[in-house]
């Protein structure tokens, strides 16, 4: 599945777009972390909460739950809600 990586996380992937797989958003993020160690914890806290300024969009629709099912042809966009100064 195609995953679009925001600029702040490209130090991990070295690419704007990467491939990862998983039947749910949680599984896909686990796969991303296997490929790019440390990436998940910058987006998901230790209680499995999505961090305040991180947003996930599956096929253009916001996913608020890590249990959100995914299909092989889906596209995941990871977006940072830029804020602060």
């Amino acid at each position: 599945m195609k995953v679009l990586i925001p600029g702040a996380l490209r130090s991990y992937t070295k690419a704007r777009e990467v491939e990862a797989s998983g039947a749910t958003l949680a599984a896909l993020l686990a796969d991303l972390d296997r490929r790019y160690p440390g990436l998940r914890f910058r987006m998901i806290d230790e209680q499995d909460g999505i961090r305040p300024h991180v947003r996930f969009f599956v096929n253009g629709e916001q996913a608020l739950d890590l249990a959100r099912p995914l299909r092989p042809g889906d596209a995941l966009y990871i977006v940072q809600a830029l804020s602060g100064g």
């Binding site: 702040a8 996380l9 160690p37 440390g38 914890f41 910058r42 987006m43 998901i44 806290d45 230790e46 209680q47 499995d48 909460g49 961090r51 300024h53 991180v54 940072q80 809600a81 830029l82 804020s83 602060g84």
Partner: protein
């Protein structure tokens, strides 16, 4: 022969104070000043004379770096406590003094809460302390909200210390994320007794000062003698706000503390702090963030007072910055400001942002909230600016190599 023509006077001249000092002290080594800022980390490499400084940085541009610490046990490992405004916290680690960095495999994080319960989340790591020399890979980290963590592999993986983090009484004193300082509660001033790796001290803003004699499994408050904001009950530890606690390397039974409510000294085995800031000038007061101790003289310490009146501007009092030093354990204080701005300087110095090297005379360093790095080569008598126009400085550490 040249050897026999030497004038006798040259051999019999009494050694000068500086010559005596030179004989006492090891050869001068280069100084490395580690600066953590709101927008990245900077390393300043000074020569042996501490006169020329080479800038190395920024590292992690855009990251909030709360603390950058060199391991004195190996002289090469650096840990940086980092996060950004948009990403979660992490620890970066270098084993070659900042030439390359690698992220911790498991940064400090609270355990996952059981289903249906609300768990705690580390917002950022605030404080880093290398462990005892007998435990070469041990490190401690203090976080916001309050959490104490330990690494046994040089900072690669971190485990929570349940003896503090999960103690119900301590949980009550710690409060929640809304308590503590404006930027969140801070667990700081983690101190390892140089004589005993299991004897630890720490401070919680707010939550008081505590010690453990069993490596962190159990903790005892040490707050007797400390004042709290007027009208509040000093018996409730939640009202205690130690800003910075330091142990004297030359006398590990003596600690100094800059508190929200004054400057204090503690001489063990007593557990009662003595307020030594009352002898500061009344118009300056004894409120501040940092506390620095002399590496070889436990009667000498330095503070940077700030304005703690009205709404707590937290700036230099009257816009006139000045370090204050005691040479007698806090009986008297002397203002040391030669070279510093004489007015309209509305910055302050945060609790990790002032430090000393171990040279003779001691070099002092501080970083300001307005992004200036200042140093003194003579224990505070004269100050000069190493760098300007940096981001807001959160921490300054000095190391030697």
């Amino acid at each position: 022969m040249a050897r026999t023509t030497k004038k006798p006077a040259a051999r019999t001249r009494r050694p000068t104070a500086s010559a005596k000092r030179a004989r006492r002290s090891p050869p001068a080594r280069d100084v490395l000043v580690l600066v953590a800022t709101r927008k990245g980390a900077f390393l300043y490499r000074g020569d042996a004379g501490r006169r020329r400084w080479r800038t190395d940085g920024p590292h992690f541009l855009g990251h909030v770096i709360n603390h950058l610490v060199l391991d004195p046990r190996d002289g090469g490992t650096l840990l940086a406590a980092a996060k950004t405004g948009h990403l979660g916290p992490t620890i970066f680690r270098s084993t070659d003094r900042g030439r390359s960095w690698k992220e911790a495999a498991r940064p400090p994080a609270f355990p996952k809460a059981p289903e249906g319960e609300t768990g705690r989340v580390v917002d950022h790591t605030f404080w880093l302390t290398p462990g005892h020399p007998s435990e070469p890979n041990a490190w401690y980290a203090g976080t916001s909200p309050h959490g104490l963590f330990r690494s046994e592999d040089g900072g690669v993986t971190w485990q929570p210390i349940a003896g503090l983090n999960d103690n119900p009484q301590y949980r009550e004193w710690m409060g929640g994320p809304q308590d503590g300082t404006p930027d969140g509660p801070k667990l700081h001033s983690i101190i390892v007794d140089p004589r005993d790796c299991a004897h630890l001290y720490l401070g919680m803003s707010s939550g008081g000062v505590h010690e453990s004699r069993d490596g962190g499994r159990s903790w005892t408050p040490i707050v007797r003698g400390l004042e709290v904001v007027e009208g509040f009950d000093a018996a409730n530890l939640a009202f205690h706000d130690p800003h910075c606690v330091r142990l004297c390397p030359s006398n590990p039974d003596r600690l100094y503390q800059q508190n929200h409510c004054g400057i204090y000294r503690l001489d063990r085995p007593s557990s009662e702090w003595l307020r030594i800031g009352k002898s500061m000038l009344k118009r300056v007061g004894d409120v501040g963030f940092p506390m620095v101790v002399h590496p070889r003289d436990s009667d000498t310490a330095w503070v940077f007072p700030m304005d703690g009146t009205t709404v707590w501007p937290r700036t230099s009092p009257g816009g006139v910055p000045g370090i204050h030093a005691t040479r007698n354990g806090g009986e008297t204080w002397q203002r040391l400001a030669a070279g510093l701005p004489e007015g309209q300087a509305w910055w302050t110095v945060k609790r990790q942002a002032m430090t000393a090297d171990s040279r003779d005379p001691v070099g002092l360093y501080f970083g300001t909230t307005s992004g200036e790095l200042w140093m003194s080569r003579d224990e505070g008598k004269r100050w000069s600016c190493i760098a300007r126009h940096l981001p807001e400085i959160y921490a300054v550490e000095a190391a030697e190599a």
